[in-house]
Symmetry: C2
Subunit: 307 residues, 2 copies
């Protein structure tokens, strides 16, 4: 996209392990961006203000005191300022109304604010999200849609339902976290060899997930990753991806109720894996274009009157 | 039990981390026993023959060259001699016919043999068991039964179905292994405090399991262990037992199909936990008397003509 609009906004998608900073024009074009491995848990003693200046200071020196919008874990208890959780259902206007200002914003930046997270306040199984909801609004904007089921694969995958432009429900699946714990710290990891991706192992794992019945069956089926190896039916180079396919297949079946179309957002490596699993299960899916995070941040900033 | 029958058999239940040795009379009475932390993975360089002599040598010096029967992981690839797997369905006679002799049995012991494991040779989800099947035959003998569903709780719980005196099916649930990996190596462990057992946390976890629907729902529900804490609904001192209840509840519902009565065998600490979960779920259950392992070993030895 070429643009003649002036620089108007700085946004940072600031997570646990990394940050991505964007210089955005008044029409939402991305004028500049960069990534640093300076997530909130990897600051090496630097202050949040120092890190913001190091990553975006050049932009304000060139373009004046632009407003800054932050989203992600920077708003958690371990972040710069704890930003509240807004209850679902919530639309862009609710996020915009819930912005938390950062009181000690460094000069010469304009006002710095943090996007709130969302809380699904179910008494038995509440859920929280912080950052991915902004990406969903960005994906909606890019796709010109106001409804749908979206997934943001990750260590903790987030499944987000949007109706009439508002997030009405979301659920967290700990699939990636569980995979790493099972591979690294149970008997299953002992038979896993090789680093190369095994598409065949993954496909077989997804098919195994399709055969599961009932909530506890996963705890039973896990052991077959080992016994299929013991009986010569699964190679050691295939078993890690078999486990990955089993878990992702179970997640997909549950989150889509086995039939609902969905849209993949962000995380290219994992997205490919989720798309492959959906194909095995015969689940319709589309892929949001890249850049959902800054597009969502821009939409929140506009709804809040920052630009 | 008092007995006047002479010593006739030495048996060892020899697992990964510990061994339990028994001196048995010709009528199955236990004349002497002891436990050592000398499982096959904790031998500190000693040979299997040395460890047998250290733990049972006194008995043969006192009573002559008694036959020795070993069961458990001592028959695995990492054990003394690899014992075969017998396919299901299998009864005592099949185990007895499949004994593997130890060729270099130390003097002055009589013949030393290892009980085979069982293999359920399902192409999609095969399963193996090594040691627990002997305990099931012991429980059947002690209970004077020939049918039923039995569970041996452990790092890997084994559910064993017996029909007309033969094991027709069994399934392994990795519940304990999964619990330890999730507690120790995912985000869930960060909010878990305290070592004291929380019966209330456990009960709430079992109830949460009852509400699960579908095989992937567990991956989604796990995150609520964290969010219930974040929203002030679950104390940090309750959350480890909540997770334990969630997993054991899911296992019990699946293995019993939500309704089938079962019998708990061995492992007193875990047995109490499984019984509590079954009570919450309204599942009928009974408890086998202690001593199933040596009773099962005795039954195999008699079926094999060793005594």
């Amino acid at each position: 996209m070429t643009t003649t609009a002036p620089a108007a906004l700085i946004t940072l998608d600031w997570g646990t392990t990394a940050l991505r900073a964007y210089l955005q024009a008044a029409d939402g074009a991305i004028l500049d961006s960069h990534t640093a491995m300076q997530g909130i848990m990897s600051l090496d003693g630097a202050s949040f203000a120092d890190v913001l200046t190091a990553n975006a200071g050049g932009w304000v020196h060139a373009h004046g005191p632009l407003p800054v919008l932050l989203s992600g874990m920077i708003g958690s208890r371990q972040g710069w300022v704890e930003a509240r959780y807004v209850p679902t259902p919530a639309g862009l206007a609710d996020l915009a109304a819930g912005l938390t200002p950062v009181p000690d914003a460094p000069k010469p930046f304009g006002p710095v604010a943090i996007v709130p997270g969302l809380l699904r306040d179910d008494a038995d199984a509440p859920d929280v999200i912080r950052g991915e909801e902004v990406e969903v609004f960005g994906a909606l904007h890019r796709l010109q849609r106001t409804d749908g089921l979206f997934v943001l694969p990750g260590t903790h995958s987030k499944w987000v339902r949007v109706e009439a432009g508002r997030i009405t429900h979301f659920s967290t699946y700990m699939t990636g976290d569980v995979f790493a714990a099972l591979k690294g710290h149970t008997i299953l990891g002992r038979m896993m060899q090789g680093e190369a991706h095994s598409a065949e192992g993954f496909r077989r794992g997804v098919l195994a997930a399709r055969g599961l019945k009932g909530p506890g069956s996963l705890l039973g089926r896990l052991f077959s990753v080992r016994t299929l190896g013991l009986t010569g039916r699964l190679g050691e180079e295939d078993s890690a991806d078999f486990l990955s396919g089993l878990l992702i297949g179970a997640e997909l079946s549950d989150a889509t109720h086995g039939r609902e179309p969905f849209t993949l957002v962000a995380n290219p490596g994992l997205t490919e894996r989720y798309a492959a699993a959906a194909d095995v299960l015969g689940l319709a899916h589309t892929q949001a274009p890249a850049g959902s995070a800054p597009a969502g941040q821009f939409a929140v900033a506009r709804a809040a009157g920052l630009i």
